[in-house]
Amino acid sequence: MKTARTWAVALTGVDGHLVEVEADLSNQTPEFKIIGLPDKALGEAVQRVHNACKNAGLDLPRRRLTVNLSPASLPKQGSGFDLSIAVATLAAGGSVQRQSISHTVHIGELGLDGRVRPVPGVLPAVFAAARAGFARAVVPVANEAEARLVPGIEVRAATSLAQVAAWHGAEVSVPEVEPVVASEVEPEGEAQLDLAEVVGQEDAVDALVVAAAGGHHMLLSGPPGAGKTMLARRLPGILPPLSEAEALEVASIRSLTGDPVGRLDTAAPLEAPHHSASAAALVGGGSRIVRPGSIVRAHRGVLFLDEAAEFSRVALDALRQPLESGCIEVHRSGFTARFPARFQLILAMNPCPCGNYGVRGAECVCPSLAIRRYAGRLSGPLRDRVDIEIQVARVAASRATSAERSGVSTADARQRVLEARERAAHRLRGTPWRLNGDVPGTWLRQGQHRIGVEARAPLDRALERGILTLRGYDRVLRLAWTMADLAGLDAPGREQVGRALYMKKGSIA
């Protein structure tokens, strides 16, 4: 038999599909064909494999080679199949052992000189291989670190094609080549931001801690220079570290975008797209290869939309569905890519186009229609999903110049958030939810977690007077529970409900 097979991985979104790479040698004049819906980059593997084999001192058989990528109906992209195609064809020609390659996954691009080059998405690919029960994966040496994050699979880092062939029993000299290395991982600058640097915004800092503890979405509204951006950028710092599984999800997405993944980063990511971002930039796009958008990169972290009212309406409303479901599906002809997108949304906006509306001592020059239109840029349904709406005022001069600093440091806040989250998780044990922000309203309004009439009174009154919709009522309940968790109480009292009402409705309540 002149057939040999090995395995590779095709990615749609962050889901990896194992692809069987079969090579067949037929006694015909020389030809090299790849079938099984390859894209342009993958079709060009013919040339790369040809030259890489020659320069590695390995002879490709001078007969007709047909490489089939099975399942043949799944579209496949990119240069990550080069290595698997090369070893399969070499095995079909007999210079590599068939047995050895048939239970190994090969991932990597080949250079013309026979070196193995890095490809994006190695982490999710190796993950898929491990889940499918493979014991061994060969990856480019530049992607070794991220591949090793996956437990339960033996990872071999390849420098050159000759080296891989030698592992599989080829009689070839392995030359000393300079390996293709990954670019350096740049150190994160966000970690140094401390909450204690925020001066005189006790209310807002408090709201930030509540948002972190309950996983609530938040809208910060205030004049320019009030510190909205400063506050939002300090949110990831007070979020508890990601669990190993969550960090792997985040690292998988980072790997897909082609960023080097050196180690498992347990800090929550912060994604802050510019307000000119399109809907495709937010949710992810591309015609054949779907690249993850901002909301996917913000998975398990914070999506911060500064100048939220300046975003296009279409882009903002694209957030509604992932906010509910925690994932996003991008449909293209032939396939659907599914990405996780469970993020915490922080919106910041000015109260009006000039930014001075409602600011003491400043004059707003906007006509009232413009103010109303500006506030209406955030659609009702999107606003409905935001639990906390807080006004951030400018800091008074006396506070800003005094040496006094706000009492809350990032370390303190994180500790409080951690305790509150533990409390919530303990109460929600046995349910699919982990955070107060995820709990549906019916569960809070009925059953054993219904809070007393006495504590509920201000809330019921607001509902009766029509200030709150029933959905808004549920949001306030959730906030109240988070505050109770932060305060170490078993159930929210009148004070917590009152403050929750204030955070939801700003000055109205």
């Binding site: 006694n27 015909q28 004049t29 020389p30």
Partner: protein, 120 residues
Amino acid sequence: MAAKDVLGRAGEDRAARYLIGCGYEILDRNWRCPQGEIDIVAAIDGLLCVVEVKTRRSAAFGHPFEAVDARKRRRLWQLAHAWCDAHPDQAGGREVRLEAIGIIGAEPDAGALEHLRDLS
């Protein structure tokens, strides 16, 4: 005769001897018509084989079989049918197939010979 033609001629002789050794009956050699030339026409087991012989001094400029591309094969089919038309008695409704023989070596008599049967 140019050096390359000498080499080609020697290669064809070697191929013919090889085919006879394999049990082929040589029907025609270097048959020409307006479309081109057939190197060898041979018969075995009721099959009519049109054989293209390629000889190279070395594989440095590509394997001999790499010269037998899709265009060349299409032309060989046309030539095969032309030969059948010209020799109705010998063709006799026999099935036709294409074959290729590649020889690498400065001395065709001693070089490596490869034989492909039934090209498509």
